[in-house]
Symmetry: C2
Subunit: 309 residues, 2 copies
């Protein structure tokens, strides 16, 4: 079974090929032009496809390696077949771990301890604080946001969540819609963004939102780069309104080496690694879903093209 891969990440594709050899050797990951288009039954993409799938007559299913599918959906030539986001169980485990890690790092200001080490400075810093004194708000209560919010709740944080539609989760104050967001912000010490990119979320994290947070709040963005207005963030960091921002996603990736974000004292840059699934888990899921699609079985994690995620 030939699966077309559209990705420039040759290292990762190589890891998947190696994993497929012992998990499902009947699946062959091919590049464009390597085999006749009529033999290709599925496509696996991590980038916009701009018409490159239109000439494949036997495509049954389209897999997105990225949780954010906004750029894919912008393409009017995208074939009208099921589009599946390959969110695996370890994607979820890795994301909630990333979120919790950076919430702890922000609350306890462990980044100042890293800086102190470089200066050979033994500095006890501010008195410690309990998780229960820290309000964390998670924007986006989907496949990644909800488990992250629940983990933070279970570990003693005051957690609130915000989503497009109302949700009820025990022990988590839930808000929705534009009015809900305004209510949520004043009690938010750490704002975690796990939103998809849609018309409603593009540029949502901007000056007027930052100004509703308590002075010195922190931000963690592991959703989509375009949800955050970078100029407004830099201004909020420079004024102290935001004390620290942890960014895993950027409007342009890789982040250009001349970006001011790399060296800003209030910014932690991570290279879109929050929730990269392991090769074995990823190809197991791919194998399962491809065989389901070829049999005509119902798939999970299909993108709602109208909602945009």
């Amino acid at each position: 079974m030939n699966v077309l891969v559209l990705s420039d990440d040759h290292e990762t594709v190589g890891q998947w090929r190696a994993a497929l050899e012992h998990i499902d050797p009947q699946i062959c990951l091919v590049r464009e032009g390597e085999v006749p288009g009529s033999t290709i039954v599925a496509a696996l993409v991590d980038q916009p496809v701009r018409g490159r799938l239109a000439a494949l007559p036997h495509l049954h299913v389209l897999f997105s390696m990225m949780a954010g599918v906004d750029a894919l959906l912008d393409d009017p030539t995208l074939p009208p077949i099921p589009l599946v986001r390959l969110v695996t169980h370890d994607t979820v485990a890795l994301m909630r771990e990333y979120v919790y890690y950076h919430v702890v790092r922000s609350r306890r200001r462990f980044y100042t301890i890293e800086e102190d080490q470089r200066r050979r400075r033994w500095n006890l810093g501010a008195p410690s604080s309990s998780p229960s004194s820290c309000g964390v708000s998670v924007l986006g209560l989907g496949r990644l946001g909800l488990p992250s919010a629940i983990m933070l709740r279970d570990l003693g944080y005051r957690v609130a969540g915000w989503s497009r539609t109302p949700k009820e989760v025990a022990g988590i104050r839930s808000f929705y819609g534009p009015v809900g967001l305004q209510e949520l912000l004043p009690t938010t010490n750490i704002l975690v963004c796990l939103l998809p990119l849609t018309i409603e979320t593009e540029g949502l994290l901007r000056a007027d939102l930052f100004n509703e947070l308590p002075f010195g709040a922190s931000i963690i963005n592991a959703g989509r780069g375009q949800c955050l207005n970078m100029d407004d963030l830099i201004a909020a960091l420079d004024s102290g309104q935001i004390s620290h921002a942890t960014l895993d996603v950027f409007p342009m990736e890789p982040l250009p080496s001349n970006s001011t974000l790399w060296s800003h004292a209030g910014v932690t840059v991570t290279p879109h690694i929050a929730a990269e699934p392991t090769p074995d888990v990823f190809v197991s899921r791919l194998s399962r879903d491809l065989r389901k699609a070829l049999r005509g079985d119902v798939l999970t994690d299909i993108v709602d093209r109208r909602a945009g995620y």
Copy 2:
């Protein structure tokens, strides 16, 4: 009620005084010489007392601010009154959070991402790994070690524990005594030391132990500095046998500014901040225990002077 404070950490003592004003204003934290010795009913210490308590006739109870009481017990003039380690519920919460944070940082090598940011380098690094592929062994299953091991277990790690006497904990492989330690090491990717300092644990983490670990294992020491042989650690880091060490405790604190540990690429130094309780929680516990001691009630967390912890 006068409580003698023997500590050089004036900032923290100031925070406690402020907290006592609204939590229990009858308790007065005094320095040596400020009031007649006969009015002092308890002592609160974070350092060896070397006979300084011997002349206080009405001492009911001795509180240690530190979990490790080895240096206190070395003093033959220590009055034979209850010695209480003030391990509060937030000490436990903070310690397990510190341990989990640094386990994640070691497993996912987030310290290389911090270094990459300083070099403006977008580097995806090694393929990601699941917590379940990582063996974490916690040395010391006491008030701090056990909750840390349980948290790691609940978050998907393969957890083993080691203690002086046998313990049984669901989902945690438990070992004890010198033979148990040898059995545990070969499957340990991250070794977490939360041991008290005793004759048996002094210098326990040394070359022959490091050599039993898989090549490239990591170490986290948040127990006592003297449990670890620093020269052996540096040699193991330089050979690659140990890939990273996170140290919160040191034989001499503050860590001298000329120590090679500050600038070693394989070492993370944190300034004994793993589990510093918050002032409010600390003085609430002090107030409760002092009043119990004066009434003659049974206290918890009393040090077993023969066991040394």
